[in-house]
């Protein structure tokens, strides 16, 4: 049977269901926030690692210029010291026709589907291995291909002919970024199928795994260089050595950004939840002070009083944890699914490790008890005389500091009720500070989120503003863009401007015999390119970060983008730089750095003539960039098709085409989940702030019940009471706006820098979302009205006699 104390706990909670629910909600918010983040973090860290490492990612890829890697060579390299596994592969950048457009299709040519050793992928459905003339498709590519297994896709390789290929199966390759983000297709074919597509090349890649599973990039580069040297000594021509960041998923940076941000918000919500808990517990204690006095008068010791109220808090915390655990599991599951989709990983086991819910349980119970400890202790220590004589604050004058604070507020209204409302909010300084803290933090984070979201959009718009072209066509030959091609394109009525560029993979000189590049097998993430263009190009307007843009003749000059600076932070303006291009060392003078937003690659910009000269090429190119007269999406797509048709009619081999709108969408897609999740977090923060205001207002009213009774006795109407209470809430809300705004500015700057650096390698521009400010003002306005309505109604419902006799 329950003791009288236990019964008191239960019934006190039941007697004030609103306050109990508020307290449960306040604690549950923290539990949900920290729980969902912890669960997601624990599960994603484990599963991403397991997915990516499960593919046995090659530590290095050596690309040969020979026509094919023989079985013998494969085996001999596998027997070299330190080499743990070797697999020969080839990769072709083909094109696929989706509707009226040709999109890039990355074809992975696999030697033996039954014995994949490196960069493994798993069959999901359909054939395995793919029958001759068919291809397997990575699961995330189906969306881009707008096709289902069994359907045909028209495919064309650079040197082959168009061919209908059946999608014979679907695979999952966790080592690749999702195809929908990159706006391309991923196909897996056999060498025989490649032949059917009209390509004569064989396996030209040796993918390598070394025997030190924890090797760092430097060690891998040295070892890969040694293998490359061995290959050269044995008559092979090494074209390129690729060493991607070891054990690091191509989108690991994104995941780190997402999870770090969530962790930050989770922590902030936990803190806010804790403050809210403290505010609500104080509300609860206000009501209990006289009862504490009575119990002490009956012989209860401070410890017994504390036990009753801490027991009450533990009961509430248990209810909150009980509510928060399943909600946080649901949220974490949604978060895990979203991030898994973002990173193309399959969650094998969505159960978090035991420590995650344990930490959640611990924080859900410990934080409220810690927060309750001081108010409970204070109430327990209160003398019986003070406790029994407690009539809230109505009997006592505000403290001297509170009066001083009030006097500092120069606001003076002709309406005495407004003066009363303004002065009332300064009567309980600690509570005011806590409420302001809650509202400012909620509002600050809310506005920060919208600022970041806007800054992200601004950056995406910048990508278009600095790139004044609409279409980019990469051609299969370095000499494909002769002097006549741009003129032919320019003749088209849709075309406003056209330029022919040279674009080639490059490697920085790292003082090794070979010059590894940090590219992933998809050849996109971590890639580095050198561009040759007319220095007075009209199609780009990159902001210069340091130094200057290329001079009119650009003699041996190079300008590097911010991604290159990130990869090679020691390079300075004025320095001589060696870049390895097409197996040749080319020497350049660094004249400046530019911000090249949206570029996934480290890029070097040179005069085309200079680049071709350095490589012994005539003044030609392999890249066409075109600007059209019409700027809307449909017209650009249509114009792009016209240009493509022109190139096809002249048998110019197209490697891939990009519309700028596609690039912008791909960049936007990379962080869509993050921005959406941030908005959810922002709303959570906002609700914590508003609940905090409601709790504080409820406590203010409760304490001043007698005072309100006096006002009513003096003739105040219900309207006056509502007006007074709501005006107080609104003043607090308005006051919090100032702090929220300052916090939002500071946080936006810091977060923008963190996220921008993570995603673009450049801070996001400092942007203020006026919509965000407006939304928060409205939220505060209506939130404050809603938060004060119920306390005001309760105060109004009391008769004057009840209010005056209120204990």
């Amino acid at each position: 049977m329950l003791s009288a104390q236990s019964k008191k706990i239960v019934r006190d909670l039941a007697k004030a269901p609103g306050k109990t629910a508020l307290l449960v909600l306040a604690i549950a918010l923290g539990v949900v926030a920290i729980g969902s983040i912890l669960d997601a973090y624990a599960v994603l860290s484990r599963e991403i690692q397991a997915n990516y490492l499960g593919t046995m990612p090659a530590m290095a890829t050596i690309k040969l210029e020979s026509q094919g890697v023989s079985d013998e060579l494969d085996q001999v390299v596998a027997s070299l010291p330190g080499v743990a596994a070797v697999e020969k592969r080839a990769m072709i950048l083909a094109r696929m026709k989706i509707g009226p457009d040709w999109l890039p299709l990355l074809l992975m040519v696999v030697d033996d589907f039954s014995h994949l050793k490196l960069n493994r992928f798993k069959p999901i459905s359909g054939a395995w291995p793919p029958p001759e003339g068919t291809m397997l498709v990575e699961r995330t590519a189906l969306r881009v291909m707008q096709a289902r297994p069994g359907e045909k896709i028209l495919v064309k390789t650079p040197h082959g002919t168009e061919m209908d290929m059946v999608i014979s199966g679907v695979v999952h390759d966790p080592g690749l970024a999702p195809a929908w983000q990159e706006n391309l297709g991923y196909g897996y074919i056999s060498l025989k199928t490649l032949r059917l597509l009209g390509e004569s090349q064989g396996f030209d890649e040796l993918r390598l795994l070394f025997d030190n599973p924890n090797a760092q990039v430097g060690e891998i580069e040295t070892r890969a260089g040694a293998v490359a040297q061995w290959l050269v000594r044995h008559g092979q021509k090494v074209h390129e050595v690729q060493v991607p960041p070891p054990r690091f998923h191509p989108h690991q940076g994104q995941m780190t950004a997402v999870l770090s941000l969530f962790a930050l918000f989770g922590f902030a919500t936990l803190i806010l939840g804790a403050i809210l808990t403290a505010v609500v517990i104080s509300t609860l204690m206000v009501r209990q002070i006289r009862e504490i006095g009575v119990m002490k008068a009956l012989g209860a010791r401070s410890g017994q009083i504390a036990a009753i109220y801490l027991g009450m808090i533990v009961l509430i915390a248990l209810a909150a944890v009980g509510l928060g655990l399943p909600v946080s599991r649901l949220l974490s599951w949604l978060l895990i699914e979203a991030v898994a989709d973002l990173l193309n990983v399959t969650i094998q086991n969505s159960s978090p490790p035991l420590w995650a819910p344990m930490v959640q349980l611990f924080s859900g119970l410990l934080v409220p008890v810690c927060m309750a400890f001081l108010p409970v202790r204070r109430a327990g220590k209160m003398s019986i005389r003070t406790a029994l004589g407690n009539y809230g604050i109505s009997q006592s004058l505000p403290s001297k500091p509170a009066l001083a604070a009030t006097s500092k507020v120069r606001l003076r209204f002709s309406n005495p009720s407004l003066n009363l409302a303004v002065r009332n909010i300064f009567r309980q300084k600690t509570r005011l500070v806590m409420t302001l803290l809650l509202l400012a933090a909620g509002g600050g984070l809310f506005m920060t989120t919208l600022n970041i979201s806007k800054a992200w959009d601004t950056n995406i718009q910048k990508i278009q503003k600095v790139r004044l072209y609409d279409l980019e066509i990469r051609l299969a030959e370095t000499r494909a863009v002769d002097s006549t091609l741009p003129d032919r394109i320019r003749m088209l009525p849709e075309v406003k401007a056209v330029e022919g560029w040279q674009m080639l993979p490059m490697a920085f000189d790292r003082g090794l015999a070979f010059h590894p590049i940090r590219t992933y097998p998809d050849k996109r993430h971590g890639s580095a390119y050198i561009f040759g263009l007319e220095p007075d190009s009209e199609l780009i307007r990159f902001p210069v970060l340091e130094g200057r843009w290329l001079g009119p003749d650009g003699k041996q000059e190079v300008v590097l983008n911010h991604m290159a600076r990130f990869q090679m932070p020691d390079i300075q303006v004025g320095q001589e730089l060696t870049l390895w291009v097409e197996g040749r060392a080319t020497r350049w003078h660094v004249v400046g750095f530019i911000q090249d937003l949206g570029s996934p690659s480290a890029s070097a910009y040179t005069a085309r003539r200079e680049l071709n000269h350095a490589l012994g090429l005539s003044d030609t190119g392999n890249l066409v960039r075109v600007a059209f007269h019409h700027g809307d999406g449909e017209s650009i797509q249509q114009a792009g098709r016209v240009v493509e048709a022109l190139l096809s009619s002249s048998n110019t081999p197209i490697l891939e085409t990009y519309l700028m709108t596609d690039i912008r969408n791909a960049v936007a897609d990379h962080m869509k989940v993050l921005i959406r999740s941030l908005l959810v977090m922002a709303l959570l923060m906002a609700s914590v702030g508003i609940i905090g205001l409601a709790a504080a207002m409820s406590m203010n009213i409760l304490e001043r019940t007698r005072e309100l009774g006096v006002l009513r006795a003096m003739g105040a109407s219900s309207r006056d009471i509502y007006y007074l209470v709501m005006a107080e809430g609104l003043f607090i809300g308005l006051l919090s706006l100032v702090f929220a705004k300052v916090l939002a500015m500071l946080l936006s700057k810091a977060l923008g820098s963190f996220l921008g650096t993570m995603a673009f390698r450049a801070p996001l521009p400092f942007t203020i979302s006026l919509g965000g400010v407006g939304a928060w003002v409205l939220l505060i306005f209506f939130g404050a009205l809603a938060a004060t309505y119920f306390p005001a109604r309760n105060a109004d419902r009391m008769t004057t006699r009840e209010s005056l006799a209120y204990e």
Binding site: R11, A14, L298, I384
Partner: protein
């Protein structure tokens, strides 16, 4: 002088106030014999409740000594005082101060729980017995809000007796009751005094002077003989001057 008497010597009590210290009690010395029914009278703000609070261990003197049931209570810590109070003093308040979320029976059991006076299994039956004594056993399982003022005050008296304390103090116990109910409450206090308990009551109600064996009158923080004719005969010897 019996050891169970309440003895107050040179008691002073000051309260900090905006304009400096407010002297609530000045040099009070008195003795209340065990088993007496004693009244403390005086105007509002005279210091009678303050004195009662000192005797009940609810408040502490600024200076002076209070010996209750053979123990100098001003030296006790808060927790010692709570334990001592639970066992030695039963308190009855003007506004009853029953805990609203406990039934009448549970309100009476609560002090037993705090002081662990009886075995857990016996507490309810003891509480019921006390409710029977004050005449509201049939209301035991109701919540306070369901009872009349008089019934609530009887319940409060039962609660004050829960741990069978030698002393019962009451602050304006009938201030909120009609005269008929007040009469029965005073009769109840009289029977308690007759059973050997020391009962000290702060009251304005001179109509019930007949019940008191001793009356102390306080004004401006000092104890002196009451000029009120209604209290004549009940005024006992007061040692007002400093020794």
């Amino acid at each position: 002088m019996k050891e169970e008497d309440i003895i107050i010597e040179n008691l002073h009590k000051n309260f900090p106030a905006g304009a400096g210290n407010f002297q609530a009690l000045t040099d009070i010395s008195l003795r209340i014999p065990q088993g007496s029914l004693t009244a403390l009278t005086g105007k509002s703000g005279s210091g009678k409740t303050t004195l009662l609070n000192m005797i009940a261990g609810i408040d502490r003197p600024t200076k002076g000594r209070i010996t209750v049931a053979g123990r100098a209570i001003e030296a006790l810590s808060e927790d010692e005082l709570a334990g001592w109070r639970g066992k030695n003093v039963g308190i009855v308040f003007q506004f009853f101060q029953l805990l609203p979320t406990l039934t009448i029976l549970e309100n009476v059991v609560l002090p037993m729980d705090f002081c662990r006076i009886h075995k857990k299994s016996q507490r309810s039956s003891k509480a019921l017995e006390l409710l029977r004594v004050v005449g509201i056993a049939d209301q035991a399982h109701k919540f306070p809000a369901a009872l009349s003022g008089g019934q609530q005050q009887r319940a409060a008296i039962a609660r004050a007796l829960a741990n069978d304390p030698p002393i019962v103090v009451a602050d304006e116990p009938t201030g909120n009751l009609d005269s008929q109910t007040a009469e029965t409450i005073f009769a109840l206090f009289q029977s308690l005094a007759q059973s050997g308990k020391t009962v000290l009551i702060v009251t304005h109600e001179n109509a019930f002077a007949k019940y008191f064996q001793k009356v102390f009158s306080i004004s401006d923080g000092r104890i002196h003989e009451s000029a009120d004719t209604h209290w004549k005969g009940a005024i006992c010897s007061v040692r007002k001057a400093k020794r």
